[in-house]
């Protein structure tokens, strides 16, 4: 066990591409965690998807051992997910630290995502050390960026550490700053009953479920029988250890230390992030504060393109769930799309990641329906129900109020795109809270209904700002909204997969765009197809696909038999991608494409 005074627990807050992973790699290298030949880029991001996108999905910890002036320090680096979707996981990781390095690109400056995370770190009472990265680049403007940090974030940046993670410049200064400027763990009684924070957990093919822990009080030992206080489950501890970053088993972890345990835990879901781990025989009196069960905020339906793959999809989701307890799914039947699953996600990035992993790791071709947020519906009888799927909306006559989730969004952009972004936010029912300038960059804070953001807000923002705007959000609260269920009727039949809750004032324009899009997306049939948007029984928009009048090849003789047969074979393949809806065939692309709003 390490003496408390020699321990520093810290995380790194940074925007994507500002150098978090490179700095981590350098710190590991400099403290001798890995020989040079063992180094690869982004050591801590294990999943392919993390490496490719430069994001962290699962928290990782690494113990760095650093000797200075004859004294040995144990520096625990906690690599946290950076995205708001994983805000809760981030908060638990931050709760395990005493300090944080704020890494900012010395030419690009503070981005929206940095802000949200650094505020979270400040709220968690962490000591913040600013680090300016990429100072070797010609475009670096350290003084301007320091001023920006002080102005925007409100912390002293005069002592910012100047580094180039890429070249290794200034890395020893970072180690000094960690030791000198970050506090050691404040308290912790080694003789008290075990009290440990469950920071995160993931599934490892060799070790099973690996639980990352921060010891607050007492000692965690191999062989100990521990209890998860929130879930009540007990387990015998098989292994205790640390990552250096290579996995290293040790006998015990004491107060202030960070490491891992394995026990015969079957699913990651059994190790709830934020739970308190104690000894079963000698339990701590009170659990650590802040535990929350995972709450999905965005839902969508996932259906196999080829109905025959339904069982494969079920198996794949089961496997993903082993490693990601925050992802939920239950079977759903859609008249339009057949059998599939209604899935819950922590946010849009999470949704995208799961979809991508299903496609990539399990080779599944999927149709995703429009993402929907969770609405709270107060019924006239006083009962409150949560609505995850517009299809399940109760009869309007029974509904007293509908409450929808709102977010606070921070957007940073070069000022030339300001006008377009303000218009976008206004179109999406946003309320401006703040508009400030930091040099030539504008920072906007908007409150927005999440249901206006879930679908294509981010895509639109990127396109308006040519990719320069950054965006982040936190959930604020739920507010009553004048929301109506809009249905799309194709050939007079409602298409369940296209129904959505939408604000009454936005319904007509939204409905009109959807009808126009569907008219383009659905091929002509042998009969006329009306496409309508309706609220209740009231039609608010209408388009008609005219009947196909003639579709016959003029010539068909001996040489055409092969050609016609091969064309039919192609049509057989194409048919798998079509969804029969009543008498109408709808191409699967239509279900997503119809929802994209081009607001030009």
């Amino acid at each position: 066990m390490t003496p408390r005074q020699s321990i520093r627990n810290f995380s790194i807050v940074a925007h994507i591409d500002h150098g978090k992973s490179t700095l981590s790699d350098r710190l590991i290298q400099l403290t001798g965690g890995l020989a040079d030949r063992e180094m690869k880029e982004q050591v801590l991001d294990n999943m392919d998807i993390e490496r490719e996108r430069g994001i962290t999905i699962k928290a990782q910890t690494v113990r760095l051992t650093h000797v200075r002036d004859g004294q040995t320090y144990v520096l625990n680096l906690i690599d946290t997910p950076g995205h708001v979707d994983f805000a809760y996981e981030v908060s638990r990781s931050l709760a395990a630290c005493e300090g944080a390095l704020l890494v900012v690109d010395a030419s690009q400056g503070v981005e929206a995502q940095t802000l949200a995370n650094v505020y979270q770190a400040i709220d968690a009472d962490l000591e913040i050390v600013p680090v300016l990265n990429k100072i070797d680049l010609p475009a670096a403007e350290p003084d301007r960026i320091k001023a920006q940090i002080e102005e925007v974030i409100g912390i002293d940046a005069s002592q910012a550490v100047m580094i180039s993670a890429k070249t290794g410049l200034g890395i020893p200064d970072v180690l000094d700053a960690i030791i000198d400027r970050l506090p050691a763990p404040k308290d912790g009684d080694p003789d008290a009953p075990l009290k440990a924070l469950l920071m995160d957990a993931y599934y490892d093919a060799y070790l099973g479920v690996v639980v990352l822990v921060r010891i607050k009080d007492g000692v965690l030992r191999k062989g100990m029988k521990v209890r998860m206080m929130a879930t009540g489950a007990t387990y015998g501890v098989d292994r205790v250890g640390v990552f250096k970053p290579k996995i290293t088993e040790i006998d015990a972890l004491g107060p202030g230390e960070i490491g891992f345990l394995t026990a015969s835990i079957k699913e990651v879901g059994d190790a709830a992030v934020g739970d308190t781990i104690t000894e079963d025989r000698r339990q701590t009196a009170s659990a650590l504060p802040g535990f929350k069960p995972a709450q999905p905020v965005v839902f969508c339906g996932l259906f196999p393109v080829d109905a025959a793959n339904f069982e494969d999809l079920r198996a794949a989701m089961g496997k993903l769930r082993l490693n990601d307890a925050s992802f939920s799914f239950e079977m759903e039947t859609s008249a339009a799309l057949g059998f599939g699953f209604r899935c819950g996600f922590l946010g849009l990035l999470h949704l995208e990641i799961i979809q991508e992993r299903l496609a990539r790791e399990f080779n599944l071709d999927l149709i995703a329906t429009a993402p929907s947020v969770v609405y709270e519906i107060k019924l006239r009888g006083g009962e409150v129900v949560e609505l995850h799927n517009p299809v399940d909306m109760p009869d309007v006559m029974q509904i007293a109020e509908i409450h929808e989730p709102w977010i606070k969004a921070t957007i940073l952009t070069p000022d030339e795109y300001l006008g377009g972004i303000i218009k976008l936010c206004q179109d999406r029912r946003g309320n401006q809270q703040e508009l400030t300038y930091v040099g030539s960059r504008a920072m906007m804070v908007y409150e927005l209904p999440l249901n206006e953001v879930v679908f294509d807000f981010y895509d639109r923002l990127k396109s308006i700002s040519k990719g320069y705007a950054s965006f982040d959000y936190v959930m604020v609260d739920r507010r009553e909204g004048d929301l109506v269920k809009m249905q799309i009727l194709v050939n007079d039949e409602p298409v369940d997969a296209l129904s959505m809750l939408v604000h009454r004032n936005r319904a007509e324009s939204r409905g009109r765009v959807m009808c126009e899009k569907l008219k383009e997306l659905i091929p002509q049939h042998m009969f006329k197809i009306p496409i309508q948007a309706a609220i209740g029984g009231r039609i608010i928009a209408r388009e008609t696909i005219s009947a196909l009048r003639k579709d016959v090849t003029a010539k068909c003789y001996g040489g055409d038999a092969t050609r016609k047969r091969k064309l039919l074979d192609k049509q057989k393949e194409g048919k798998k991608r079509m969804r029969q809806f009543g008498k109408v065939e709808i191409p699967q692309e239509a279900f997503i494409a119809a929802l994209k709003m081009d607001e030009n």
Binding site: M526, D551, V552, A554, K555, Y557, G558, R565, D569
Partner: protein, 397 residues
Amino acid sequence: MNRPAGPAGGSAPRQLAVYVHWPYCTAICPYCDFNVYRARGADSTSLLQAILTDLAGWRSITGARPVSSIFFGGGTPSLMAPSEVAAVIEAVDRLFGLEAGAEISLEANPSDAEAARFAGLRAAGVERLSLGIQALDDASLRALGRFHSADEAVRAARLARSLFPRLSVDLIYARHRQTRDDWRAELGAALALEPDHISPYQLTIEAGTAYERAVRRGVIVPADDDLGADLYLITQDVLEAAGFEAYEVSNHAQGAAARSVHNIAYWTSQDWIGVGPGAHGRLGAGAGRLATTAALRPVDYIAGVAATGTGTAEREVLDEDGARDEFWLMGLRFADGADPALAPGAPLAATALATARDAGLVWTRPGRVGLTPAGRLLANRVIADLLLAEAGASLPG
């Protein structure tokens, strides 16, 4: 080599139709995507020899079979010397045996130069001339890249009428800026030539043709769906009123005797062999039906025959689904419909059939399924729907 299965029960050998492809043309028409080559400088003697050798090769596969029809298509087979045509007809008769009264058709251009050969072609044994009139006004003919004039076409048709027992004319409609009235008048003018068979084809813009490029440049505006449909319906009305029966989508005959025996062989999934570059063949029924394609380029075809005794470059043995698909794709275009009892593989899905019948697109009667006139206008879609439908129980009766 596997001998393809004969008809069920192994009774009399199946009839055989013979297609002869003559790929040479004086010039390539801008709308044509057939397997054609410029005639100038072409070596017709070698090609004729190759065709004759290829026929002998086929004989060793099929054995002697009563030949019900020979069709000279192209390209421009009216560029063949009458003696060359005679040699092919003689070879078919010698190798396989021509049925008494067998149909012998030849496609011809209605130019003065080619009309000069008509008497010789008749003497060679051609009894049915299929005249590629295409249009009856000079501006349209020029736009179609044809070298004959409307007057020449009329002269050629009159001559053909006097020489051949049976005369068919081909027309192309939905041409650039053609109106409904234009077409009605043109059909009347074509009828005045007294053919017993008319094949009006809607102009189709095929990939890789000069017309496709012209459409892309906006020089030619193809008829829209509505106009195309109207012109098709006008065709049906005018020709029916003149006593012509629409026995296939684009084929109209004045009485049963005027129907093309050869083309009916295609639509009823009979056996046919093809000789000449790019010609297709089919032998056998159901699973195992043999589909052949001859080498596309004349030079390859000639070399292939010289080396191996056969012009066939590709052979595919159809499985039951493939044979089933072709059976219906070809058969439902035929006005007499198709006999489900002869269809390979699973029966057509009963629900899809009932749906199409209720929509007035398909008719059924014992032993027969066919498309109604309305169904024929949408034949591609109707047939695909029937074949793509999930197989269910077959329709009783």
